[in-house]
Structures are given as C-alpha cells and as structure tokens.
Amino acid sequence: MGLLTKKEMKQTPIVDDANDARYGVVEIDLDKCNGCRICTLICPSNVLELFGEKHNRRARIKEGLVMCLACDNCHAICDRDAISIVSGYDFAGRYKQLGRGAPSQPRLEWGKPAAGGYTGTVPQCPAAPEMDGRHD
C-alpha cells in the first residue's frame, strides 16, 4: 500500500468529532442490571462504569469521548441480559464502513430476525462529500 494522496489524507476522520466518527451504541436495561460490574471490567474500550448507591448499583456509559467498538462482549458476559449493542460504528471519509446491514445475533435462517436478538440499526455517519451514497 503506497502513500495516500493529499485528498485521501484530508479524509482521515477526526475521532472526537461527531460529524466524522460515530461509535457503537449500547443500551442498558436498568431494570435487569444488578450492577455486578463484570461488563465494566471486560469492555475493550473502557466506556462502561457503575453508578448509584451501594447495594443499588447499575452500569452506564461514561461521559465524554466514548469509543465503543460494538463488539457486544458486554452482552456476551452479562448474566442478566441487561446490555447489548444496538448499532455498530462508522467513520466519515476514508474509513467509511461499506456494505453493512443492521447488527443481528447468529441467524439460522437469513431474512428472519434471530431469536433473542435486539433490533439494531445501521450507523449513519455523514459521508465525506467524496464518498457519499453508501446507504442508498
């Protein structure tokens, strides 16, 4: 892979600019979460934390720059089925994700929602002008 052109270089997304970078989105069901903490320990992006009084803790997403990878490992380990991704990540410009549909649990039959899966969405990062049109 050779040198990028200057135009391509300019398309490098700025990772803390919401116009350039959309990270994974997780939803936490506070009625199910018992604040066991394990998701906060294994999250590769260090974006989860506990909040609330002792004996009544729950998980939540941290403030500030939250770079969730949408790996869903928090869901994999949660004993309470309290957390899961609802959307993947996407970047504007050079690293725009291509040809993606909504996230799904493993499907035994295509075209049908998988059992136990959450209904996901496709992230909609605004495309850089040069690379528009992905979600047509």
Binding site: L4, S45, M67, A76, G101, P103, P106
Partner: protein
C-alpha cells in the same frame, strides 16, 4: 467417473457425502434452521478475553493448542511460522511496559484528543496524525488510534496480563501472503484453546516488540522472522461465552442461475 475412481471412491452418492460431512460435527442430517452444531457453536461463542485469572495454564494444554496449530492450511504447505511461548510473569510485565511506552511515544506525537480544540497543541498533533496517516493509513484507522490513545492514558492494557503469551512469528519469505497463513495458524490455536475452556486475545499492538533489537534478541527473533501479533492465553474471568453476540450483517453477492442477488 473412471472405473478406477469408482473402485476406489465408490459410487458418488451426494446424500451419502452430506451425511458423512455431518458426522464430523456429530449430526446426521442438516435441514435449514437446524440448531448450530458443536463446531459452529464454538466459533460463535469464542470471544476475545481481556481479563484473566492469575492461575497458569498447564504446559501440556499449550502444547496441545500448538499441535492443532501445526496442522493449519498454508499456501503451498509452506508453514511460514515459528512459535515463541512466554510464561515468565516478569517478562510478560516487561513486554507490557515496553509496548505501553511505545504507545505513549506515538500518542505524544499524534493524540489530539487530549487537547482542547483551538489550541496550538491540538492543531499540531492533528496535523501530525494526518501526515502519518499518509504512509500508515491502516495503523491510523480510528480504532487502533483509539487503542493507542487509551493505552497511553493507562485506560487499556496491551496484553491484558495473561499467564501465557504465544508469539506466532512470521517467516517473511512465505509464499504469497504469509500474513494469511499466520492468521489461520492463530485461528487454529485460538479455537483449540476455546474448546479447552481457555480464553485468548489477539494482540496486534504486540508488533511494537518487533521494532526493538533488544526484544528481538530476548525473544529469539532472527531474520527472516517478524513479530506481527501475539496471542494472550489464560483462564477467563466470569462467563464471557454465556451469550452469543450481535454483529453487523454484510452485503453478500449471490450469483446463481444467471441471476445476481444482494443479500444480507
């Protein structure tokens, strides 16, 4: 089929072949919608493990994993790898420290996220990040960029403090694209580990070690070998395989009967 082939292979009975294939996975008939078999389920439940118990993995289990690795397919059967196994706690911590220091160096040059917008430091680092992305676009993808930034801020580990690290070295003279063969041998090792109740994590950030003559010497890495990845191994904390995960679906081009379909 020729007479010889018929004699040796028997009549070609497609149903029989499908049944034989099923036997490998422990099932006899596979209909659409049939539950995942044991092999498929293992692949679906493997996760990257980043919190390990302190307990060391018995050496014979590591050898068992390496043995499964040895039978991985490779281009032209060239097997372009050499394994280094590190089980010395102090050495593992030193490897961690070295890679953390490398992340700090890079972050110091390019991590604009730690500065307020509009400041000189912010403009300088942002410019540097874009410049470096010209020659190393894949390393400057936002996800590894974020990983380096988190490591530099002590918010993420490199190896995740496992009791054992496997470094599958790549013989750079391998046929075609030896990185593919390294990925496959690693997958064999990782899946064998998973089947033994062990957890693994691929560590791309380990490639910093390759740039250090001192580390190359300590780990017995000589020409024509390169450290391109590491695999951390240990007993996982909690039950990281309790649930399967959701991942994005991918556009798939399906060509059949002269028609073209896009399916997800």
């Amino acid at each position: 089929m020729s007479e010889f082939a018929t004699e040796v292979l028997g009549e070609n009975d497609p149903e029989q072949t499908e049944k034989e294939a099923g036997k490998v996975a422990g099932v006899t008939e596979i209909e659409e919608g049939a539950p995942w078999n044991a092999v498929e389920d293992a692949f679906l439940r493997r996760r990257s493990i980043r919190k390990f118990k302190k307990k060391q993995v018995p050496a014979h289990l590591i050898r068992r994993m390496l043995e499964v690795g040895r039978f991985a397919p490779s281009q032209g059967n060239c097997q372009p790898w050499k394994m280094v196994v590190v089980r010395d706690r102090d050495m593992i911590e030193e490897m961690e420290d070295f890679c953390v220091a490398s992340c700090r160096k890079i972050a110091g040059m390019v991590d604009y996220t730690v500065y307020d917008k509009g400041t000189f430091a912010r403009r300088k680092t942002e410019m540097m990040a874009k410049l470096i992305s010209r020659s190393k676009p894949n390393s400057m993808h936002p996800v590894p960029f974020a990983a380096v930034s988190l490591v530099a801020q002590n918010r993420f580990a490199v190896f995740h403090h496992p009791p054992t690290i496997i470094l599958p070295l790549m013989d750079t003279r391998g046929i075609g694209h030896p990185q593919i063969d390294l990925g496959i041998v690693g997958t064999n090792i990782v899946m064998a580990a998973h089947s033994l109740g062990l957890g693994t994590c691929w560590v791309g950030l380990a490639s910093f070690l390759n740039e250090s003559p001192e580390w190359r010497e300590r780990l017995e890495v000589e020409e024509p070998y390169e450290i391109i990845e590491a695999i951390s191994v240990g007993y996982p904390l909690g039950k990281p395989m309790r649930n399967t995960v959701s991942r994005e679906t991918h556009e798939t081009v399906w060509l059949e009967d002269g028609k073209k379909e896009l399916i997800y």
